[in-house]
Amino acid sequence: MNIPYTVEERPDTGLTNGKLGIWLFLASEVMLFGALFSTYIILRMGAPEWPHGELNVTLGAINTVILISSSVTMVMAWASLKMNDFGKHRLFLAATLVLSAVFLVNKYFEYADHFARGEGPAHSTFLAIYFTLTGLHGLHILGGMIVMAYFLGPGAGLWKKNPEQFANRIEVTGLYWHFVDLVWIFLFPVLYLL
C-alpha cells in the first residue's frame, strides 16, 4: 500500500503531503512563540523598570548574521538538488550545519557569561524570559541540526532511490529552518536592542 501525494503534487490542491504538513506545523509554532512573545509584552508592561544593556549585542549581531547566512546556504542546498548537483548540495548542507553549530557555540558563551556572574533565570523577570525564549529557540536549532545530520548521513541514500522525494524533504527542512531563522530575527531586536 502506498500513500498518494508523498512525491507528486495533488492536482486540485497543488501540494504534497509533506509541504502542507510542515506549513501546519509552522502555524502551530507561530502560536507557541506568539504566546511567549505575548508573555514578554505583558510582563514588560507590568514591570516598574526594565533592564537595558545586559546582553552582549555584538555576539547577538554576529549570531544574527550567522543564522541569516545559514538560511542562504540552506536554499542553495535545495537549489543544487533541483540542478541535479548532489555534491554541491552536500557542501551547502554541511555549511548550514556548521553555521548552526557556530550559532550554538556563541550562545553557549553568552549563557556561560551570565551563569559566571551568578545571573541565572531566577535573577530577574527579564533574564527569565530571555533564557526561556532563547533556550526554546536553541532547542529548535538543535532539532534542525539533527535533521540535517540525518540527511547528510543515513538519509542521503534516498537521493539514489527517489531524488524527487529527497529534494522535497530538503525543501521541507528548509522551510522549517527559515522559520527558526525568522524567530531569531524577532528575538534579537526584542531582547538585545529594545
Partner: protein, 593 residues
C-alpha cells in the same frame, strides 16, 4: 529533469514491491502494538481512552463518598489507599484535591479527547474520505505512543512524594507553582499530551485535504469529517499557548523564575522568597486561550458522530447540511476569541468583559444552529430506534441543557453569582458527560460492526442506555440547585461549615447514590463490548444500510482499507431519494443510466 523522473518512477515501483513483501511478514509487535495502520491505532486509542474514562470516573465515585458521607471511612477500597491518602479509610483533604485535579485532567486530556479524536477520528475519518491510511502513518503511531507516555506519567504522579497534582485541572498560579512535586510531573505529562495532539492534528488536516477519494469534493464530505477537520485546527492552534504556559510554569517550579509569581506574596503568614514581578492572571489567559477551544474539541467530534447516526436512523438527508458546515467553521473561529469569559472574576475592566460577553453570545448562535438542524432532521422521519440512535437522540436535549445553562455564565453579572459553584460543574458536565460521552457511546455502538465484523447486543445496549440516562440526570440536575444556592465547588466536605449550604448538602447523598448506580450501569456495556467481539451477530459490510464510504470497505477492513479504489458520485446523506430502488443511495454507487 527527465533523468530525475524516470529515476523516480523506477524507484517507486521497487519501493512498492518491497512494501508488499514487508507487509506479509509483520510480526505480532508490528501488527498490534507498534502498528502504523490507522485502524489499529484508532482501536488502541479507543481502548486506552475507555480505560482512562473508567479510571477517571472511579476517582469521582471515591470523591462522591466523601461528599455524601464526610469523614466516614470509604468502604471496600478505603483501607488500601494508604496512610498519607486516607488514614483508617477516611479521606484527607489533600487526597480529595488530588482526586479532583486528576479527575478533570484524566477525563478531558486522557479520556474524551483521545477517544473522540484519536479513536474515532483515526478509525473512521480515513475510511469516510476513501483514503488508504493517514497521510503520515509513522507520525500517527508516534502520536499514540506519546499520548500513552503522557498518560502513564500522569498516573505515576499519584506515587510522587506528596501525591499527584492538587491544584485543579486548571492549575492556577500561584498555588500550582508552590504545590508539591506532583505538579511538576503533571506539567511534564501535559507537555507529552500536547505534543501528541499537535502531531495528530497536523496528520488529520493533511489527510483530509490531500487524501480525499476521487469525486469527494468539500461539500460532499460527511459532517463527521468536517467536525474532525475543524477540531484538528483548534488543537493545532490552541494547544501551543498551553505548551508555552506549561514551559513557563515548569520554569517557575524548577528554575526559580517568577513568570506567574507576583512580588510580596505571603503564604501561610510567611513572605515567599521568589524573584517576583510575575503575573498570576497571565497563567489564566494562556490556560483559557487553550481551554476554551478545548471545549469545542470535546463537543465538535461528538456533534459529528451524532449527525452521522441521526441521518442514518432517520433515513432522511440531514436538515441544512450547508448551514451545519458553515456553523462548525464559524464556531471554530469564534472559539478563539471568547476565552476570558472564564475570567470575569479576575477584576478585568468593563470594556474587556463587554467584549468577551458579546463574543460569547455570538458563539452560541452557531451552536444553536447545529442543534436545531439536528432536531429538525427528526421531523417526519420514521426513526429506527437502534442502540446508537438512542444515545444520539439523548445527546440532543442533554447538550441543549448544557449549552443553555452556559449562557448565564457567559454574562458577567450572573457569572459573579454563579462562578465557582456547583452550577458551573452541572453546566459543563451536561455538555461533556451526557452530551459528549453519550455521543461517544453512540459512536462505539455504531462503528463496532465496522471494526470487528460483529454487532453489539441491543438488549444490553438498552439497559446501558436507560440506566445511564436516568442516573446521569440525577447526578447533574441537583447540581444546578446546589449552585444556585451558592454552594462552592472544590470543598472536600461539601462546605459543611457554611450556613447557606445547610439545606443543599442532602443532595450530595442523592448524587452519590446516582453516581454509583451509574457506575453499575456501565457493566452491561463492558460485558457487551467484549462478549460481542466473540459471540456478536455477524455484520456484513453495511449493516446499518448507510451511505458514507466507510461502509464500502469490508468489515473489518484490511490493510489499505478498500478492495478497489473508491469513487464518489454524490453527497453524503442521500437517503430515501425519490424514485430510487432502495431508501439509501450510497456515495460509492454510480448513478444508473
Amino acid at each position: 529533469m527527465d533523468n530525475v523522473t524516470s529515476h523516480g518512477s523506477v524507484a517507486h515501483g521497487h519501493a512498492h514491491g518491497h512494501d508488499e513483501d514487508h507487509h506479509q511478514d509483520l510480526g505480532f509487535w508490528r501488527k498490534y502494538v507498534f502498528s502504523i495502520d490507522h485502524k489499529v491505532i484508532g482501536i488502541q486509542y479507543t481502548i486506552t481512552a475507555l480505560l482512562f474514562l473508567l479510571f477517571g470516573f472511579t476517582l469521582m465515585m471515591i470523591m462522591r463518598w466523601q461528599l455524601a458521607y464526610p469523614g466516614r471511612p470509604i468502604p471496600l477500597i478505603g483501607q488500601w489507599l494508604g496512610q498519607d491518602r486516607a488514614p483508617m479509610g477516611i479521606m484527607l483533604p489533600e487526597f480529595y484535591n488530588q482526586l479532583g485535579a486528576m479527575h478533570g485532567t484524566i477525563m478531558v486530556f486522557l479520556g474524551v479527547v483521545p477517544l473522540a479524536v484519536g479513536g474515532f477520528g483515526n478509525f473512521v475519518m480515513p475510511l469516510q474520505i476513501g483514503a488508504p491510511d493517514m497521510a503520515f502513518p509513522k507520525l500517527n503511531m508516534m502520536s499514540y505512543w506519546v499520548y500513552f507516555i503522557g498518560g502513564v506519567t500522569m498516573l505515576a504522579s499519584f506515587f510522587a512524594p506528596g501525591g499527584a497534582a492538587q491544584s485543579g485541572w486548571t492549575s492556577y498560579a500561584p498555588l500550582a507553582v508552590i504545590a508539591q512535586s506532583g505538579q511538576t510531573i503533571w506539567l511534564v505529562g501535559m507537555i507529552f499530551l500536547i505534543t501528541s495532539s499537535l502531531l495528530g492534528s497536523v496528520n488529520f488536516i493533511v489527510t483530509i485535504v490531500q487524501l480525499r477519494a476521487r469525486g469527494l469534493g468539500w461539500m460532499r464530505l460527511p459532517f463527521f469529517v468536517w467536525a474532525q477537520f475543524v477540531t484538528a485546527f483548534l488543537l493545532l492552534l490552541a494547544f501551543p499557548p498551553l505548551e508555552a504556559a506549561g514551559v513557563l510554569q515548569l520554569m517557575d517550579r524548577v528554575a526559580g523564575t517568577s513568570f506567574f509569581m507576583p512580588s510580596g506574596l505571603v503564604v501561610s503568614g510567611k513572605a515567599l522568597t521568589v524573584a517576583g514581578g510575575g503575573n498570576p492572571v497571565l497563567w489564566q489567559h494562556l490556560f483559557w486561550f487553550l481551554a476554551h477551544p478545548e471545549v469545542y474539541v470535546l463537543i465538535l467530534p461528538a456533534m459529528g458522530i451524532v449527525a452521522e447516526i441521526i441521518a442514518n436512523n432517520t433515513r432522511k438527508p440531514l436538515w441544512g447540511y450547508k448551514a451545519l458546515v458553515y456553523s462548525v467553521g464559524f464556531l471554530g473561529f469564534m472559539s478563539f476569541v471568547v476565552w476570558a469569559h472564564h475570567m470575569f472574576m479576575t477584576g478585568m475592566g468593563t470594556t474587556m468583559s463587554a467584549f468577551f460577553q458579546t463574543t460569547t453570545m455570538i458563539i452560541s448562535i452557531p451552536s444553536v444552529v447545529i442543534l436545531t438542524a439536528m432536531l429538525l432532521s427528526l421531523w417526519g422521519a420514521s426513526i429506527r430506534f437502534t442502540t446508537p440512535m438512542l444515545f444520539a437522540l439523548a445527546f440532543l436535549p442533554m447538550f441543549g441543557i448544557g449549552g443553555l445553562t452556559g449562557l448565564p455564565l457567559g454574562l458577567a453579572p450572573s457569572d459573579i453569582h454563579l462562578h465557582d459553584t456547583y452550577y458551573v460543574i452541572g453546566h459543563f458536565h451536561y455538555v461533556v458527560a451526557p452530551g459528549t460521552i453519550f455521543a461517544l457511546f453512540a459512536g462505539v455502538y455504531y462503528w463496532f460492526p465496522k471494526a470487528t465484523g460483529k454487532k453489539m447486543n441491543d438488549v444490553l445496549g438498552a439497559i446501558h442506555f436507560w440506566g445511564s440516562f436516568i442516573c446521569i440526570n440525577i447526578v447533574f440536575m441537583p447540581m444546578f440547585i446546589q449552585g444556585l444556592g451558592g454552594m462552592n465547588r472544590r470543598m472536600y466536605d461539601g462546605g459543611m461549615q457554611y450556613a447557606h449550604n445547610a439545606t443543599l448538602l442532602k443532595w450530595n447523598v442523592v448524587i452519590g447514590i446516582a453516581a454509583w448506580a451509574l457506575g453499575l450501569f456501565q457493566i452491561p456495556f463492558i460485558i457487551n463490548f467484549f462478549a460481542s467481539m466473540k459471540w456478536g451477530k455477524a455484520a456484513d459490510r453495511n449493516p446499518w444500510e448507510a451511505t458514507t464510504l466507510e461502509w464500502l470497505a469490508p468489515s473489518p477492513p484490511g490493510h489499505g482499507n478498500f478492495l478497489t479504489e473508491p469513487i464518489v458520485y454524490r453527497g453524503p446523506y442521500e437517503y430515501s431519494v425519490p424514485g430510487a430502488a432502495k431508501d439509501f443511495s450510497p456515495q460509492f454507487e454510480p448513478e444508473k443510466a
